[in-house]
Symmetry: C2
């Protein structure tokens, strides 16, 4: 595939630890629900139509690049396309979230799953990436993503969102051998999926472990980190990688130990402590409290400057500490991005 | 009031930093939804009937002492009795949680609230404490509690439970002066309320900041810690105190700085790191993952021994890292308590 040279490669340079004029900025969930143009598409097409139609996915992916001015595009998709590709039914219930009507509870359920041919089952994501890459024409880098195996297990066993995912945890604690079998199947699928994303045009892959912070440090190592480590290992040479395990500040040192290029952090840790835990060989990404985007714009700009002051401009990507909230005015999201762009190295 | 001498004062000695034969053990939310005898009362009486009838509240409070063997009783009540006493309507919707149909949004809403006479509005809690104390007849110490002002503000502004409490946070970020006025009113009420609990028989008061972990370290100091500090200060000489701010591991040092006797921690921090942050002058309480009580009993017992090994037996109270889940079998809760009681200092 012919790839246009990147006009803005700030994200890639920051991830490689190279010098940048200013930190790159993007926002988790930037393609989506707070953007009026997205909401129009949402009214016309179902969630999976939006994911599975490469033209729609590309349009949604590019919206925040054009309308908010972020330094990277992240492909519009969902982490649950992987369980779906492995043979599980996944529904998206408007206003309620995902529903997997036949959750995994025992060995029999597990035997219904399979290791898919990702080109056959997830080819639509690869097509969307290739079309997006082409349409971006080198404006900004393109990020692909996947859910961490632990987070996918949470949904596959619990069957829906949960504050505690206690059924998923009980499954792991009472049937650990089965849990590890499932986690390995998800991991193998995810590796093939992420490699396909890199081939299709993703410059970076981010692994989202949204529920990593529900585990104790010891359980996180056992049920999450060891599978994330396999994924990061397998992707070396294919693309740059970022691990975002929400709430799992305690594992920053082992995340850095995987050799991933970046680690996302939430706002519940100070930049100084995160850097201390993570060491100097990984780029930190974060950690603006998404609720802070509901502040008045001058407050947002001030808080962004303070955030960059605290992180420093080296090995740092400005981002939120979790996904953007649906009720954030577009102007406020723009103010966040602008504040990073206005940050001059002289002020540091 | 004549008070029977305590036959089991392990909890109080652990909180004072005195030597104990073994760590005391109790469980957050131990009086409640996993106990069949509680469920029977729940079928007959509404939530607030159970709280407001001192005879019922006493019966529920004592159930886990007699049936599970914990080393402390914690009064059956709810943190939302304080907003209720300040003039807000609070409903408990079965299976959904609390609903405050007229949440605080502006100055006008705030003016409808008042600083209550706690004896008049919350006298039923004091009566329940006194009756419980009498009925316990010195078997174990009695814990009273209150919500931290930040957590109460969350419900009073958001009007219901939430994963992010983004409306409550937006209120604080966009109208900080009003937020601080509300937090101070809650604090003043809470101090009077906790002093009343101590007078009525509570040996210990625990302040629950269930949503402290949603704030950044800086915002936690501004919107939560400074009010918790006032409460702990005001209670010195009245009773022993424990701060439990779920997820706010980053503030352990400042919690210890308040002079509180204990700090509760959740399972997302190792005992060693918690001790390092908190220093040696405060008793740590926690931090068993509540979902781990869904493991097979031998696994529970093993994990409890490992937990105590990691914390050590000095200045330590065995507890969960959050409330017990409703689907925990009573046998498993008992196994947790027994494992602590079986822990011999020789094994340490």
């Amino acid at each position: 595939m012919m790839i246009d040279a990147l006009k803005n490669d700030l994200l890639l340079r920051a991830l490689r630890g190279e010098t940048v004029e200013r930190p790159p900025v993007w926002m988790m969930r930037q393609a989506g629900r707070y953007l009026p143009d997205y909401i129009k598409l949402k009214e016309k097409y179902s969630f999976f139509e939006r994911c599975q139609n490469p033209r729609l996915a590309t349009e949604i992916t590019i919206q925040p690049v054009e309308q908010v001015g972020v330094d990277a595009a992240i492909i519009f998709s969902d982490i649950l396309v992987v369980p779906q590709a492995m043979g599980m039914e996944v529904q998206m219930i408007e206003g309620k979230g995902p529903l997997l009507p036949e959750p995994i509870q025992n060995k029999n359920d597990l035997q219904k799953l399979y290791l898919p041919d990702v080109n056959e089952k997830l080819g639509y994501v690869f097509e969307a990436l290739t079309l997006t890459k082409k349409t971006l024409a080198g404006r900004v880098p393109l990020i692909g993503f996947a859910g961490a195996p632990w987070t996918l297990l949470c949904y596959m066993v619990q069957g829906k969102g949960s504050k505690t995912f206690d059924e998923a945890k009980a499954f792991c604690f009472s049937q650990p051998a089965l849990a590890h079998q499932l986690l390995q199947m998800i991991t193998d699928t995810t590796i093939a999926y992420c490699k396909g994303q890199a081939r299709a045009g993703a410059d970076v892959v981010q692994v989202f472990d949204s529920w990593g912070g529900l585990l104790s440090p010891k359980d996180f190592e056992e049920f999450s980190m060891r599978y994330i480590r396999q994924i990061i290992d397998a992707l070396k040479g294919d693309c740059l990688t970022i691990i975002f395990a929400k709430g799992a500040w305690f594992a920053l040192e082992s995340m850095a130990g995987t050799g991933a290029n970046g680690a996302g952090i939430d706002w519940c840790i100070t930049p100084a402590l995160a850097r201390k835990f993570a060491g100097n060989d990984i780029t930190l990404q974060g950690n603006f409290d998404p609720s802070r985007l509901l502040s008045p714009i001058p407050e947002i700009k001030k808080a962004v400057r303070e955030m960059i002051d605290a992180f420093g401009t080296h090995r740092y990507i400005a981002n939120l500490g979790h996904g953007i909230l649906p009720n954030v005015p577009v102007e406020n999201a723009k103010a966040f991005v602008e504040a990073v762009k206005e940050y001059s190295l002289e002020t540091a």
